[in-house]
Symmetry: C2
């Protein structure tokens, strides 16, 4: 499990005192090589946190030696001082490890709009640098949690090589990417171009299809590191499949631990004219607060699904669309279908299927219901 | 006040038994002329309720003699039977009043996806037709309430003529239009083209700028009726101003009574490159659940505003944007501004100002916070 599953990696977590809770808040993942191949994808939000701006530059040459991560503060909307703080963090880690600051990615998560307490953070860097170990993955995964209730780790094992990963993410989960920090590791021998292509495919089909609350973060980052320590060169399709499996596993862990959620909702839009149409419809449903409240209330209120579909420009005929909730075809041909009281919404997993009857394309989006606990957690988060 | 404020109109409300609560649920507004000019705007949702489909046809010739409205059922996603039910309702009212069914608009509001109990509704039509009176506006306004806690009425008085209006709307408030039913009346002499143009301008600047929960209904309808009973011809700008004032008044009543809301939030986006940019940014903020939860929690979490702005394609520089909450400039030049603890969020009214610093355009959107009561009301609505 986790980022130290593949050979060639060490990791650690420590408590720097950034969080009021006193829980671990600094993590470090180091690639000991022999190779130091890296790729990353970042939030598509135009307001980007200082660590995103820094890490985008750091990974541009396809090489990273280490990733330093902190919870307890996003270092977003913090101006020049925020960027200098990120730079200083990378320099500190580089000094401690005897590497170049330009090969250190920085990730931060927490409240937007406050400067990080740098003395504490730099002390935390020292703590993690001196406690690195080949089984430090779980400690690193724990140190990046914010409102997560459990740490998220996953791995994929092939013959002679493997992929590991850790993630944090609980609120602000929406595409482009879903809001989160993710570090993936592999000991396969892959080129930077291979890793980049595989990572883009993997995130497009996994994290990008998670839309817990429609809110896109300023700090989303997914970084993949390849050490080559297995000595095994791996073809494109193999690394793509391995990364996709690990990302899918982590994405489902994010959904299951979304802030305050009582239901995990899988929305399949099928028989769409295009995948883009299917995705547009699935996202529109996933972002409809009335629908999400209804699911929380155990109410198979399919009219709210139809109303959400109707706001899109996807190809469909309101007079032929079908909708099933947990296997009951509650809407048939755009009208009243089977008895809605037959729908059982007591399980945590809810399955919506929308039949657009306009083609052969399909897409799936995962979301959560809208609950009292979501409101509670997000109205009290920064205070 | 209300739709019977102008001369030439009668109205009534009655209880047909469509609502479990036993409260009034059928309303009728009749234009006694001498003129019968009408205009209407409808939801832009592609899934449109049967009464919307019917009324769009009825008003196409610029004439309506009456509007029959019911709460307790939306008659949306009800297929051919639903349309036949709407047709039967119009025929019944036409018979009772001795007019043509093609001059009767029908509006319905309530749960989507269930057929109306027609025997009850047709009895209700008889009840309202026999109780029509020149001071029946308030009774009609009460009969169209669903989860509204108060009825909504407004009026505008000019020299010798006036405009009156009533509205219902509490949940599913989002543009295109905001979700609601509205009937406006005037005794001015105006042409159908004048009334249509004035109504489009009025709704664009009022109801279309209300976005309580981002959810667009299948039943939104705003109908304007002109009796000409004042004998006074009115120029374009005068009818436009009068309709806009009444619509703005009703729109603010909708915001103040939005389901479960604890705060009314005015979002001004200023110094935008275009009005469209300003509107896009304002809507993005208005639909951000995390921001809306923060306001509910009394937390001036401006980072969530920046994150919402960053998801748009509006012209702005993340390094220069300013944000004020209730007069405190919490974000200056994209970074930390004045002390956020100075912001007082205890009043119900909250004022957000976003300075994009990209031009001279501006737009305002009204929304509400996201509260426990919103989740409660919308998870229990149909059960």
């Amino acid at each position: 499990m986790s980022v130290t599953r593949p050979t060639g990696f060490r990791a650690a977590g420590a408590t720097a005192g950034l969080k009021a809770s006193g829980r671990p808040d600094v993590a470090l993942v180091v690639n000991d090589g022999p190779e130091h191949v890296a790729a990353a994808v970042f939030t598509s939000n135009r307001v980007q946190a200082a660590p995103v701006l820094w890490s985008r530059q750091a990974v541009a040459d396809g090489r990273l030696d280490a990733v330093i991560l902190n919870s307890g503060g996003a270092n977003a909307c913090t101006g020049h001082q925020g960027f200098q703080d990120t730079h200083a963090t990378a320099e500190k880690v580089a000094d401690l490890l005897g590497i170049s600051a330009g090969d250190v990615a920085v990730c931060s998560t927490g409240l937007i709009g406050e400067l990080l307490p740098m003395a504490k953070l730099l002390s935390g860097c020292e703590a993690v640098a001196t406690s690195l170990s080949a089984d430090g993955g779980p400690a690193a995964a724990e140190a990046i949690m914010t409102t997560d209730t459990v740490s998220k780790q996953a791995s994929f094992r092939a013959t002679g090589w493997s992929v590991g990963g850790m993630a944090k993410g609980a609120g602000m989960l929406a595409p482009g990417l879903a809001t989160m920090l993710v570090v993936l590791t592999t000991d396969a021998i892959v080129s930077a171009a291979q890793l980049e292509a595989a990572l883009r495919t993997a995130t497009r089909l996994t994290f990008d299809r998670v839309d817990s609350d429609g809110c896109m973060s300023t700090n989303d980052t997914v970084i993949a590191l390849a050490s080559g320590a297995s000595g095994i060169p791996v073809p494109d399709h193999a690394i793509e499949r391995a990364l996709t499996e690990v990302c899918a596993d982590l994405a489902m862990q994010l959904v299951r631990d979304a802030e305050g959620a009582a239901h995990d909702i899988r929305i399949d839009v099928v028989s769409a004219a295009t995948e883009s149409d299917a995705l547009t419809v699935a996202r529109s449903i996933a972002r409809n607060n009335l629908f999400k409240c209804a699911i929380f209330g155990g109410d198979p209120n399919w009219g709210r699904i139809l109303a959400a579909v109707g706001t899109t420009d996807a190809a469909f005929d309101p007079a032929t669309i079908d909708v099933a909730i947990n296997g009951i075809l509650v809407c048939r041909a755009g009208g009243v279908g089977d008895d809605r009281t037959l729908v059982d919404l007591s399980p945590r997993e809810v399955h919506i299927v929308v039949h657009l009857k306009s083609g052969d394309a399909a897409a799936t989006v995962w979301t959560n219901d809208l609950t009292h606990d979501y409101v509670h957690e997000n109205s009290a988060y920064s205070t």
